[in-house]
Homo-oligomer: 317 residues x 6
Amino acid sequence: MARTELPDARVSPRFAGVCTFGRYPRLEDVGPAGRPVDWAIFGVPFDGGVTFRPGARFGPRAVRDASQYLKRYHLGHRVDVCEALSLTDAGDAPIKPYGIKATLDAVAAWATSLADPGTRLMAVGGDHSVAYANIRATWERRGKPKGGLALVHFDAHLDTVDAVWGESWGHASPFRRAIEDGLIDPKAMISLGVRGPLNTPTDLDFAAKAGVRLVSIDEARASGAALLAAYVKALGGREAYVTVDIDVFDPSVAPGTGTPCPGGLSANEGFALLRALRGLHLAGADVVEVLPDRDVSGMTAMLAAHVMFEVLALSAS
Amino acid sequence: MARTELPDARVSPRFAGVCTFGRYPRLEDVGPAGRPVDWAIFGVPFDGGVTFRPGARFGPRAVRDASQYLKRYHLGHRVDVCEALSLTDAGDAPIKPYGIKATLDAVAAWATSLADPGTRLMAVGGDHSVAYANIRATWERRGKPKGGLALVHFDAHLDTVDAVWGESWGHASPFRRAIEDGLIDPKAMISLGVRGPLNTPTDLDFAAKAGVRLVSIDEARASGAALLAAYVKALGGREAYVTVDIDVFDPSVAPGTGTPCPGGLSANEGFALLRALRGLHLAGADVVEVLPDRDVSGMTAMLAAHVMFEVLALSAS
Amino acid sequence: MARTELPDARVSPRFAGVCTFGRYPRLEDVGPAGRPVDWAIFGVPFDGGVTFRPGARFGPRAVRDASQYLKRYHLGHRVDVCEALSLTDAGDAPIKPYGIKATLDAVAAWATSLADPGTRLMAVGGDHSVAYANIRATWERRGKPKGGLALVHFDAHLDTVDAVWGESWGHASPFRRAIEDGLIDPKAMISLGVRGPLNTPTDLDFAAKAGVRLVSIDEARASGAALLAAYVKALGGREAYVTVDIDVFDPSVAPGTGTPCPGGLSANEGFALLRALRGLHLAGADVVEVLPDRDVSGMTAMLAAHVMFEVLALSAS
Amino acid sequence: MARTELPDARVSPRFAGVCTFGRYPRLEDVGPAGRPVDWAIFGVPFDGGVTFRPGARFGPRAVRDASQYLKRYHLGHRVDVCEALSLTDAGDAPIKPYGIKATLDAVAAWATSLADPGTRLMAVGGDHSVAYANIRATWERRGKPKGGLALVHFDAHLDTVDAVWGESWGHASPFRRAIEDGLIDPKAMISLGVRGPLNTPTDLDFAAKAGVRLVSIDEARASGAALLAAYVKALGGREAYVTVDIDVFDPSVAPGTGTPCPGGLSANEGFALLRALRGLHLAGADVVEVLPDRDVSGMTAMLAAHVMFEVLALSAS
Amino acid sequence: MARTELPDARVSPRFAGVCTFGRYPRLEDVGPAGRPVDWAIFGVPFDGGVTFRPGARFGPRAVRDASQYLKRYHLGHRVDVCEALSLTDAGDAPIKPYGIKATLDAVAAWATSLADPGTRLMAVGGDHSVAYANIRATWERRGKPKGGLALVHFDAHLDTVDAVWGESWGHASPFRRAIEDGLIDPKAMISLGVRGPLNTPTDLDFAAKAGVRLVSIDEARASGAALLAAYVKALGGREAYVTVDIDVFDPSVAPGTGTPCPGGLSANEGFALLRALRGLHLAGADVVEVLPDRDVSGMTAMLAAHVMFEVLALSAS
Amino acid sequence: MARTELPDARVSPRFAGVCTFGRYPRLEDVGPAGRPVDWAIFGVPFDGGVTFRPGARFGPRAVRDASQYLKRYHLGHRVDVCEALSLTDAGDAPIKPYGIKATLDAVAAWATSLADPGTRLMAVGGDHSVAYANIRATWERRGKPKGGLALVHFDAHLDTVDAVWGESWGHASPFRRAIEDGLIDPKAMISLGVRGPLNTPTDLDFAAKAGVRLVSIDEARASGAALLAAYVKALGGREAYVTVDIDVFDPSVAPGTGTPCPGGLSANEGFALLRALRGLHLAGADVVEVLPDRDVSGMTAMLAAHVMFEVLALSAS
């Protein structure tokens, strides 16, 4: 019997019904067969941390809509995610639209006690600042691992800037804060996809000095899968958090984002990298920076839904 | 205490959370205070009856999304719809995407026993063929009134064609079928907004002969409110069903529909007509023909949500 | 028997087949029953005369596409245009994309000998410079009426500028040239809809001095129908040419045009003015300035198709 | 000699060159003939105060772009604004993207000392919270008139909410704050256009009690021009500030805004109201809430540019 | 002398004239030099077989429009398709919008006797269900080859599902039906591009058991050209039908389709695969699933037109 | 101290202020530290030379807008372009919208004396015909090198057609004219990216005979970087002009252009080719054929801005 009950698409078509992530049941509707829940997926409709185009607050809604077309079986990993995992849409986290830090605190507090103790959390943004909150909650829930969690980071930007306009909690800074707070172990962090013009070359210094493995977009494209496979192996059984800024993808496949940068990954390049993480022990995950008002024919939200599915399939395989 | 519990927009912003019509609770979440339910709103994601552009199957989803921005108090009628009425999102009706008649039967059967016996039904389409199903269910639920229900019909088209391409159940025919089946009393039917080129002038004959009051778009604009007020008065306490094809509005305010026709109502003209129905005893209602893939900046879905709100406010006042 | 043979929409749906204006037969396919042809409709895919946004060269194609949804019976005039008139799509006029004057000469020469001698011409633009060519051809074909043709002009701009950037044949100048050349009688010209900021108030002087009746947008809205009815009456049997720049309509109903100006006519206001021309003896007509790349959900092209239909219905009634 | 030097559109076409508001010179380029400056127009690219859709930070840029097509002569008021007034684009005000109050303070401080002492200020938003800043600066510059400035307010919303999500400086509150701070005299304030569902009827209480003249959308449409003419007369020579939230217009003409509400003004209805203010002694003005990512074919930004022009023409006539 | 007469683009620009596929003559206009016709291209404006987004009924019209920009010489194959082949636009097949099987029967019957006996058929969809009809007609016309035709299938989905919602003729099933009916030889069928989540792994069983060669998207990308070249060689002189579901391409290059799936082919990857078929003996072909309402800047229709051209060039080389 | 002063993005956000290319100072604002200017970037808002879709006249404006998000440091070349180079936005060149040759003459004359004698020129189109003008000016300014400048040409089309519609100065002909006039040395010209259907194979003859190195799109993709590196080496110190038609990129990354052709470069493929020019001695450059009305979410203009940045970074490294 499947751990997640899905509406039968042959009875209730994918264009019917109230939208939840992947058509998975709402948390309040999960029955005994779904307990304990493996993954609680929740939205964080917050974009108060952006430095350019706002609007990612509508990202969770768009991803819920796009994810109606997800099916359950992953051809590559040969796994049925609904068979293997109990999945749920836990709704949206509480946010404080006018305050970044207040929002991160509220999200983290809420997420820390969400669902069952062993449930993993997947946050759907919202801007990248919200990753900090989910990482903090995940770190708490996974027993506050010493030195912090390992981190796999897909992004066009490194997001370790100290502060922008005097604010240290925006979407350019989450991993700097997470490293400083001991939630992430920089020596177990790998970041793929950085590209494009920089304000200053020193923007990479903090991460480099802290020991983060920086993989440029060209390197990611050429040998990223092998690097990631080696990274997973090196981690051993250590748990890692996966964070995917949708702008790691090229604007042609992910136009609906706030700071797009030409030259990014194609969808299949991105999927290949995610699949190379096979064997990773997942602690939690997020998919962020989907901005529907800049999207085109819903393709960015659809891609984000597929990223969500890839992560779940990793977890199930 | 309010009959409908809404999330507090000062806590959970309108851009947060899973979308239900008007943010009203799902039927399965309605508590004792909401029983019996006054109005069950449901989607009918079906567009198999169209003669031109398909895609209205995505209408319910778009209206759910747009309706997040509805508030509860109606300035004109001076009524708080959530205070006065117990409202719910009953989800989407079961449909058979490949069969019009089979869908109408399934929707009607499902709707007939929905919620509490006295609950009124509001269907959100989907193409106009689905009106037949909701009218049939409503007629059943309201005690099969002899001679049929009264009908207020807003539309650019009369929808009383006998058959198109040999099919008698499409979106050009619902009121012909409803009249033939005794669900609607043509002498108590008023139709406003017909305009644009016709295939043949005989397309109006069936309705005219049956006694339907046809109000052209120009007449509707000039004196529709007075006509409707007189119509309501003449009905006395008799119950009427209200059906709104969003294409009664001009393409500039409702581009997202399948057979748009220039020269329709502006939003305020339409609202004025709906408000002129004050005093009407409502049996049920529908809002149909929202086609999101042709919509522009979501304005058609937003307008449909406002139409839904106008009907509810009528009911509450 | 109908003078124009249309594909039966109950056999060949409106979304099927190669697009001709109104689904009317191509000129080469008109049979004996359609001879002599009453109206030859042709495109002029030229936008070399614009002073701001180009792209109206794709206008004829867009109007052909949108006109597939036109039906044949006009409710207001109670006339079936295909029953009453032989209509044809004569294809597109020959144009010289790099030369305005060369294009106007080529179009005029081609149009002068098009179809049957008594056939009226309706040009679909293209920018407004092409009106000159069709007026010249019409004037020739209608026997070079002394003093020129009467002219009914709907437009947000007066289009009687002498020259722009040294060029005297652009879309700001057609009526100045037509008046100077004796093709149009300014004292029998009425222009409705001028509005918006002007470069200089003297832009109106030429027309005013020549005797053109200038009707501002406010006057057109308030009393245009009466003015036009009086105008028609005053003309007696004299023939008039009707030219419709789609930008006489508001950008909300006609966004797809090159120099939109807020504050224009709604669709129903425009239709009312056109219908007020009932009784006019039509010499020819054009609909111009549809710019598909700026259009929204095809609404401007659809509106232009309806304008075309209104003019044909005038002719048939 | 004109007070404002414009590039000659017959030499440098409107699609050429760096965009400034109305093609007016940048403040640093204004020569002696333009001194003292009559109106300094500046952008406030801030949307941190919104309660629904963000993105109005890109409004000033879009209005600059759209305003390239403005011409200089106003047909209704028979005035050439560049002849009569020295106009300038003063650039964008300094903003603090992460702080509402900090932004308002910075904008107000900057604006208070902008250009010449007698220069009027026109702010282009940005969300409506920025009106407070320009009102404060205007009040300072106009000699801190006792009791505050008169205010003409066009808006779908009253914007006198006390606080949202605990924040008292957002776009729902500017006039409450301005009244409390004595910058605006509520008894000399008139607000036109409020419509749509409310959270609670008490949202109107503060303004009503303070003596604000509330003109509903229906009243505005029916008799707004007369009301405003009377209002201007009653003011005598007292100076008034004009604030225009673009959402006072219908979504069909102004889709590009954050909280659109069906049933608003058409463009011509809005222009008629603005023109009815003839004779008003202007202290300052703003046009706000243009959100380009939701705009359609640039029509909202174009409309906002025309509103800007209408206000300048009022000032010049 | 060329077998196909094209309008000279130096006389009649590509933006002029009534649109036919590739600007090729309509079948009724083909002169003696064009007889016998080599390829008749026709539309099938039918989308009644879809399981998700409808609208492909407008596909043929969009491809006709986009194909105006096709030129005649193929650089890779060094062939002028109009020189080598007589090509025609045969219009649209007769369809029954409310019945899938009835449509397939009508299309097949019509296509079977189209043009000259040796003429190959290329169908432009419409949804993928229509492939069955063209395959059936092709099989008939090519002498009912024993065991069925060979098939080259490009698609994100395998389309061999037995039935959806009780209907066995939808767009998920054409090849199952064609194999069952002996029209296609599964052992001579190769399918490239399957990817994305599946409802169940058993969806691939029918094809696998029947002997279809399944080439995953990754395999197609890595070595598809070699596989296809080998496939062509193995076929010997046996004739094959080529079917291209435009969703084999990535949503970034083909957003305008009903069931897009991220991770598909880029345009050049697709062209390389098609060119690898050089030497194939073509029996017929189709290009399907173009959905213009979801398209972006016309790029999907343009791509489909290029696919059409690639197939014709294969045939000519 | 930096040679180019940029507004500090931590003070004046990228969404604030009047747009200049890259936020570089206007030429009239360049201070002594910026003298002599290294690169003057200017727009050429002209599209009178197109053979298909017009609208590129709005290209410079769109690129200015998109370039606000450019930063200054190039990760690949490890260079800060603002540190190394004095950059300026010189505004738009004077154009004659109705005359191609007149425009080219005016642009060339204006550009020849622009800024300082040693300043390099980068033109932002506008259609490709404008390249001729900038090449002519560059050739003059660089001392009329004998035999002409070397040329690196990225384009889907070869642009060496003799004439179209009798006009020899359109966007299909600039390099033919430049070669004939001795401004370009065809033996030092390399052209990459030609693809798609041709009108006739002889379209390539002129260039081939003249000695131009033609690199097909497949060759460019497979080994273009090596070819270009060899080309640079072979040039020695000879100066080359770089011209980039944005349609060398695939329509998925550059939809906003007038004659898109599927199968082009991805963004990263294009960047790799541009970076392979490291060591090139740049004489001048252009980026052309950005057509905003066909663009999608601004991605084409953004890509063009990055191309501009890549060229500047080449120059700085």
